[in-house]
Symmetry: D2
Subunit: 414 residues, 4 copies
């Protein structure tokens, strides 16, 4: 972070960040977008780009919707031109006719977004712009198309090969750490002291993906506890008073929280890569680790019970059995598991390893899953076949104990 | 460099570089490309990608041409599908129909290239792959179309906002320096000692653009000498025995060599940005610098003279006048200057500042331009208007002395 | 920090830190010190050193006093041996006799401390050891001698040329920042949010000296505010709601807090160097800065008034006049100013620039100085002569306004 | 390196390097040393220090000898003062009397050297100054005493705990690499290409110790080859055409060259630490390594044979036997091995593992040792006891094969 930060903070670079850009003036933003799309040289393009981003920053939501509608409408495809270029290419396929077709088949707003990105530091602004769009687009089909253009470009820019895996720890810059506090989505971090307890002890780890053009912004991060044996309670795992374990003595790495940080990158998946890389990295640096497992919430359990008319049991084993039943057998119309966290880990090739009652006694844990939690196991030797069975046959792979536990649940009322 | 290099050299990353990939085995590459394009999950995609790159690396030129033809043919657009998707989108524009259209309008080989890039370190291999393609494509229109796809993706990946400007000096890694030696295209670097003379003295600077995914590979670099006054001879500028100038006393920065390093990035221009950033950076760090100027070759002079039937004069002033005449008045059919170096700098907004005879007495200098050279001046206050006049009216802006010099040349024979 | 931290955190280094050392066992510490002092090879020396530091860490205060007495007594000089070696050297000065003399003239405990320092990370432990010694030594003359040995070695190890000046900002590691919170001695930092307000705004700066062997431990730091004009109130300067100033527009840098961090380095002065370097550094990076000034407490004012039987005035101007009188005229028996902060800055070559009433309205500010504060001015052009006049003639240099203000104070009762 | 280099190259630091110092003017150097020793404040001290180093740099050898004589004579101990202070301390031991004694017992030139070192970058100049002294001191006993003062300070400054171990590879700065070429003392490096062969292949390693105050200057470095089995020929080991071994497959690390870089640090030993750290580091990063061994020259063999009147045998086995006999049985008067390289490694706790004929067929190898070489084995489990036996009983530990080989040698003529 600091390293990359350094890279980007030479005197020159600093002066070219957006902050130093021109004030938003009275020029209509539509004229600026036209200038930028048609700019023949970099200099005038950069000037227009700076003005557009400055203008955008000053807009309220209404103004932003109007801006998005402008992109979606005025800078859209011209179907007639596409058809004509396609015909010419079919008639005589050549570099020239192909180039004309690809130019016609891409709406000018894509080039606009690429040109905005020529400014230093613009990438983060564009990601934030898409977050606005997702928040404001409603059911407008034209804005949905605009969103697809953003997503198309972001998939290319945030290609896995461009991401950098970095440890996050108590030596990380405060600037990054405050974002970890803000973005933690699973088990909230209450304070800097709380953060310290998650990062500083020798038996804790945290890793994040970063993109070089947004060096201060984690894209996704995972928090890990090193333990002996597989844990069955998040409260015990995060207990203030726990005596840290010598990491050399740990046999298990527990992924107890994974958080996406950038709403503007919705739909561009990093979690699978992140977990697999962290498994791989930890295996090398701590050869004593034999088990890689999550301690995951079951966010949809209570809603499912309510939909199914199941009365919540009080007895822990009955709760666990119900949770196992839900994870193994509750499906969406497309045949995939109803639980989103289950879909994510099973889709990655993990299997259901164990289900625990009284594992998350927080208010949120009780209200969403009766306090139950689940361990998904990442067994390197089986991840590929697990994945294959899940992807091809929608098969949920689970440990025999879990299968038995699910079978022991009282049948759901018809 | 080292910093970014460090970023990428964690234990994990190293193990995932291509080198550690699978051996190229007997599986047909066509099956691998199909596997990669259709992979639903990252893991199987990465495996296929590794195999494809390993297979490609082992191919000879004939095999590579066959591979390119496969991409150009089997993974091309399906015009009928494009037409159908376009019709559906026109009939009912929606996110869904737009997505279907954009999927159809992009040939599958683009997605293939993006997926190959998910491997660490693949970016450099893909750039090298396009260098092969450019070398081998000949006049095949299908391969020309494939090249346009590479270029389209590279323009997005090597977006100006993703590049990092870094000084190159005697503290730079040997790994990078040996590439500077190899890539210097204007005034060859004979040895490490020669390199040291260009980088180590306090009155010398070098800057390069890098991309974070290719941290050891400069994309383009410029060599700069800090001087008092504008130089008129490259040999004097590079003289071994010159006593270095205290940079605080310099009033002029001379860009005496600009070299592109990556044939695979042909057509993606960085030079304009590089010069402007270096001007800006040097202005801040050395406020005594007032003049930013090149000392440039005139590569097309002698060929033009030969085309025009002009006999080379022996007298230095006559040589200079002829060079000035050529730079100001020799045009291509499209009305732009015939000289490629002139087109580059004038297109950037520079102006012709001075023309010198006996400025490059090397064999190459004599044979291409009778030993003449030219200073293009980057005057920050005038770059924008110069550029505008050149872009809009193809006007070549020159100092009055140069205009007079050109006028003094004997008229070219009709 | 992170950079140096990285340097020290290769796999190898980590494993050799003290933490991984041997448990403190039953071996008497006196035998271990003997082993270490007499060790002929590094390996056995390092083992003994590790054991001693581990044993020391486990001692309570009583045990530590005993350990210090052992060093002070058993590992003291042998005056007879010194006298003999001196005689031999005088009789026949040679390399050999000089070596024998220097060996005899240095108590073995100095070599012990040097050998303890051969362990990675030991430097910080030794600094902490001296902090213990200073706390526990009381008036024991033998321990005072031991303390002089520590100080002698630390002066050599913490030589100005070995220190590194580093900015502290919101990109600094949390590990360092929590120490800034802990060590701030002048105006307490209440929380991480408070720290953020001191470090993150563009018109704030902080710099610290570090030693490469203690990369996570600031030795001394100074907090700076960039302002327009010289401030006259610490509360206004640190006000939460202040709108940050564009640093390019600032004309004044205000040093409003300087804190030493290491009690174990007492008597080894860094503050003078720190201020001068920061002045020099800021002058270059922000050429608009013309005035370098402190906003300093006057810690001894009220005590002096009490000693002199002066009744505290209520009127602000009278308070300021009294403060000016105190700073200019209240002296210690040795003729130097009575106020310690005044001695520090005047000794550095600063001059008294202005005195303000109602400048520190905190409880502490009111109780120590009636709320008055003072600006000491670091005028680069005059620092050397100011210093000279202060050092040679004990002259307190002050602005005419301050001299007049002091003169206007009611005379102190006889 | 680059990292530490960066640390030291902030704008501020650069301007304070020696280069920017004052010109050497006409002031007598004796007055400057007096000024520096008596300076009460840092500012005037730094000015004097800068002038002294600038003056020194401009002196020729004669001038330097005169300067050293000045330090040795005018800034020497005052024995009468020592005796008096010693008496006072004995009469009444106290902090004050101890301080007075230590002040008297240290010659003022030590304080002078410490104060010179307060300048950034001065450490390297002082090391170079001692190199001059060693070269020029001859048999002058006063200069020998001065040298002991330098050495005393350097032992403290270059304390093991302050050194940093860094890998040297093809990513290292050219600035450092050119020093590796220059300092290689065992098997000369002919060119940058030769250097590349020693650093770049995956089965080669190089490590150096650095001091933070001399970040561009290696203090000592070791070159390592990773092999399968123990090598018996340096030419085969360094052969251009060797196919690099996958380091994961190596079972042996061969230390084939160790070079001290700083003549000015003579007598301050780093080699022992370096080898042990590298063994430890490699063990962790490449767990497949089981054997750590040198391939060392036997520099004194032929001279010993000549001294003993032994005729060089032609037969390889006889050469090896003679070498083994020399290593095991040829002693200095003090009972330690006659061969300096043997003393070094045996003193570190290594043992003689094997002796090879025809192992160094270079001209130098033949002339110093008939082409024989030796492997010293660093067996972590036995290093401590080996060392103990060597240190206490001067016992040379050798493999049985070597002992037998030595026994097979023809007896040396009486």
């Amino acid at each position: 972070m600091t390293l990359l930060g350094d890279l980007l903070s030479t005197v020159f670079e600093r002066r070219h960040r957006l902050g130093a850009g021109p004030r938003a003036d009275g020029e209509p933003i539509e004229r600026l977008t036209r200038e930028l799309v048609s700019a023949r040289d970099e200099t005038s393009g950069l000037t227009a780009a700076r003005k557009i981003l400055a203008r955008y920053a000053a807009l309220d939501d209404e103004g932003r919707i109007a801006f998005f509608r402008h992109l979606a409408g005025d800078l859209n495809l011209d179907p007639a031109a596409v058809r004509e270029a396609l015909g010419a290419y079919e008639a005589e396929p050549s570099g020239k006719s192909y180039r004309a077709f690809t130019a016609a088949a891409e709406p000018p707003r894509q080039e606009l977004i690429r040109r905005l990105n020529q400014l230093f530091g613009a990438t983060g602004h564009l990601v934030a712009m898409r977050a606005d769009l997702l928040r404001l687009m409603g059911k407008d089909p034209a804005l949905a198309a605009l969103d697809l253009d953003f997503k198309h470009l972001f998939r290319s820019w945030f290609n896995r090969g461009f991401l950098v895996l970095r440890p996050i720890n108590w030596e990380s810059p405060a600037q990054v750490l405050e974002k970890i506090i803000a973005y933690e989505a699973v088990h909230a971090i209450a304070s800097w002291d709380d953060l310290r307890r998650r990062l500083a002890p020798p038996d804790r780890r945290c890793f994040a993906f970063f993109h070089p053009a947004m060096p201060d912004e984690p894209l996704i991060f995972v928090e890990v506890a090193l333990t002996q044996g597989v844990p069955n309670s998040i409260q015990r795992l995060l207990d203030d008073g726990h005596a840290p374990l010598d990491p050399e003595l740990a046999d298990t790495a527990v992924f107890y929280s994974i958080s996406n940080c950038q709403p503007g990158l919705a739909g561009i998946s990093f979690g699978n890569s992140l977990i697999k890389q962290v498994v791989s990295d930890l295996s090398v640096t701590l050869p004593g680790l034999k088990t890689f497992v999550t301690l995951s919430p079951i966010p949809g359990l209570c809603r499912w019970m309510s939909d199914e008319g199941i009365t919540p049991p009080n007895e822990p084993r009955a709760q666990a059995a119900l949770a196992a039943q839900y994870l193994l057998h509750a499906k969406r119309p497309d045949g995939l598991p109803r639980d989103p966290v289950a879909r994510f880990h099973l889709g990655n090739g993990a299997m259901i390893h164990a289900v625990h009652a009284e594992a998350d006694l927080s208010e949120n844990g009780r209200s969403q899953s009766l306090g139950t939690m689940v361990n998904y196991l990442y067994d390197t030797a089986r991840v590929a076949t697990n994945h294959e069975r899940f992807a091809a046959q929608k098969e949920v792979v689970a440990a025999p104990d879990v299968t038995r536990l699910a079978a022991s649940a009282a049948p759901a009322p018809a």
